[in-house]
Structures are given as structure tokens and as C-alpha cells.
Symmetry: C2
Subunit: 214 residues, 2 copies
């Protein structure tokens, strides 16, 4: 649909900002953070280089804005999902937790490829946001696992629950990214595997602790 | 110990090559692949920039040489370990598999930080080698899991075993890297968690398939 009325100054600014952010997302997946430059982003977005600096001080500020927007959306989505998962009983709640995470990845391939790429990069503002999201997921899952019966009375037990949560988060991410790469086509088959790990480790650790099984 | 005799031309060449490789390893952990340049490597190694090009055509060739050497060493080590693990019975073999992988990480912090950093970078020759090692580990572990009783008669079952293997590899890597970051101090506690996951999922999937438990 063509926009007939001329854009206001504010609308034009918004469009240019959006173009710069989307151009960054495209370039980042090709070059990584280190290879990105303000001039390449301006070229990709089809705007003059001085215009770039009207919107962002430098590439760091640009990538930080992109990361906050895109990863922030996923964080909000996963938080909402967690609240409704909490109302599901036992194994169905466990499966739904993984399903929600996997769907987030499957529906945002560009974003999560970038996430996997930048997560390990020490100087990358996108990587920083990715690590922050990962730490939050780990924290939430730790609480959920304690709720499901994993013992956490001593510091050693608490650390163990954190390790279990961390392992589950990276499993979900890795199999989700492999799905994007076309290696595992069926999301429900991935849910099956993640649930088998989860139920297995819960049974194993809860029983080992002599507590009730979840 | 001081070397009294003057270096031969060949020895001097070897020393310079070694300095360039070690300088690259140091710089890569700071800047990532995208931020690396031949001039920065030469400066860090304390050699003149033209000398760089006596040894390597460009930074790609340099990083590829580094990756082949360092990751190749780990690959050989893990292969050797696998052969001896195969002679251990049941759970002790499973634990030893994880222990060997975790020790490789713990004893080579610089290498595995770089591994975690570059693994996701599409254009990085170091990342390429890292992904190749990961694919090999996944393949070996898939065979081992089938040996432990995971059903793999149909394509869907085979894919499931591959997913289980992939999840185990990334769990081990993630907890090993977290150990380097100082989050989990005790390697044996990590082995406990990985073994609980492994025994849990094996029990779960082998029993579910109606086959004998491993």
C-alpha cells in the first residue's frame, strides 16, 4: 500500500532509524561484530554516512540499540510464557517450557543465528545482551527446578541445581539452532528429547537425594 | 636456559612462526576474528610487518594454522581417551567420558575460551575447526550411545540419538567454560551432573523403547 501523504520530519527519522537497525541485523550475520562498520551499515541501509551519525554515535550504540530491542522482545515473551506454564501440571509444564523456547528460536531465525554468533564475543554489545538473557533464563529455570523438587538446601546442592539449569538452557539453544540449520526438522521430536533429559535428571537427582519424586 | 649457539636460519624462522601463532592466540581472545589484523599480530609478536608475510599469506592462513594445530591436539587427545574409556564398564565409562572432556577444557583455558568465542562466527577459520571438532565428538558419542543401548533402528530413532549426543556435547562444553569463568569450581561436581543427565536420559529412552536397560 503506497503512502500518499508526504512523511513528516519525525516519520522520516523513524524510517531511517529502522532501516539502519535492519541493515545492521543483516550485516552482523555476515561479518560478525568485529567486521561491522558505520560506513558499511549506511551503504546497506541506503542512507548517506553523515545521516548515520544523526541517529547513532557509533557502531556500539547502534548494535546495543538493536540488541536491546530484539532480545528484549524475546525476554518479555519468555516471561509471559513462564507465568502460564506455571499453571500446568508436572510433565506437561516441563514440555511446554521447552516448546516455548524452541518456538521463539524457530520463529526468529535471523535473530537467533545472530544470538549464537555473538554470544561468545567479548566486546560485542549484542553478545552482552545475549549473555544477559541467558543468565536470566538460567536463574528462572533454577527456581523452577527447585519448585519441581530438586534439593537446594546446601550451597553445593544449590550450585548443582544451577548447573542443571545451565545445561538445560544450552541444550535447548543448541537443538533450536540445529533446527534452524535444518538438521532436526521436527520441533516436537526435539521437545521429546529435552523432556527425556529433564525427567531423567529430575528422577535421578530427586531419588538420589531421598526426596519424593516429582 | 640460555641458548649459546647462534640460531640457524631455519631455527630463527621456526621461532618467528611460533611467536606469530602465540600472538594471534592472545589477540583473538581480545578482539575476536573480525577485529584481528596482520599488522596488529606483527606488533604483538614483536616482528616487522613484512616478516609476517614471509610466514603467512594473510590473517586467514594464520588463523587456520593456529586452529589446525591447537584443535588438532585436542582431537587426538580425545580420540585416545575414547579408546581407553571403551574398556571401562557402564557408568564408570560414562563418567570418564565427561571427565576427559572437562579436563581438556580446564587444562587449556585460552584455547577453549577462543573455541567458545569463535565457534559461532561464520567467516572464522578457527570457528570452522571448532565446528568440525564438535561434529566429530557428536558423531563418536552417537555411536557410543547406540552401544549403550539407545535404539537406532529407524531414521527417527537415529535422529533422536544424534540429538541426545549433541545435547551432551554442548552441556559438557558449557559447564566446562563456566568452570573456566570460575562459576563451578569443582570438576567432579560437574561430572556428577553430566552423569546424572546421561543416566537419566538413557534410563528414560531405553526403558521407553522397551529394550533392556543399559
Amino acid at each position: 500500500m503506497a503512502i500518499v501523504r508526504k512523511l513528516t520530519r519525525e516519520e522520516a527519522k523513524l524510517v531511517t532509524r529502522r532501516r539502519l537497525l535492519e541493515a545492521t541485523a543483516r550485516l552482523l550475520t555476515k561479518t560478525g561484530y568485529g567486521g561491522l562498520s558505520a560506513s558499511a551499515v549506511a551503504r546497506e541501509a541506503g542512507v548517506a554516512q553523515p545521516t548515520f551519525y544523526v541517529h547513532f554515535r557509533d557502531k556500539d550504540e547502534l548494535v546495543r540499540a538493536l540488541a536491546e530491542e530484539k532480545i528484549g522482545e524475546q525476554r518479555a515473551r519468555l516471561r509471559d510464557a513462564r507465568a502460564s506454564v506455571h499453571r500446568m501440571p508436572g510433565i506437561e509444564g516441563v514440555r511446554e517450557t521447552f516448546r516455548v523456547g524452541l518456538r521463539a528460536i524457530a520463529e526468529n531465525p535471523g535473530l537467533f543465528r545472530l544470538y549464537a554468533q555473538e554470544r561468545g564475543q567479548p566486546g560485542s554489545p549484542f553478545g552482552e545482551q545475549a549473555r544477559r538473557l541467558e543468565a536470566e533464563l538460567r536463574h528462572d529455570l533454577t527456581e523452577d527446578l527447585i519448585g519441581l523438587g530438586l534439593p537446594a538446601a546446601t550451597p553445593a546442592e544449590r550450585t548443582r541445581v544451577e548447573m542443571v539449569a545451565e545445561a538445560m538452557v544450552v541444550q535447548t539453544e543448541a537443538l533450536g539452532i540445529a533446527h534452524l540449520d535444518g538438521r532436526y526438522g521436527d520441533l516436537e521430536a526435539i521437545v521429546d528429547v529435552l523432556a527425556a533429559f529433564a525427567m531423567g535428571v529430575l528422577g535421578h537427582l530427586v531419588v538420589a537425594a531421598g526426596a519424593r519424586t516429582a
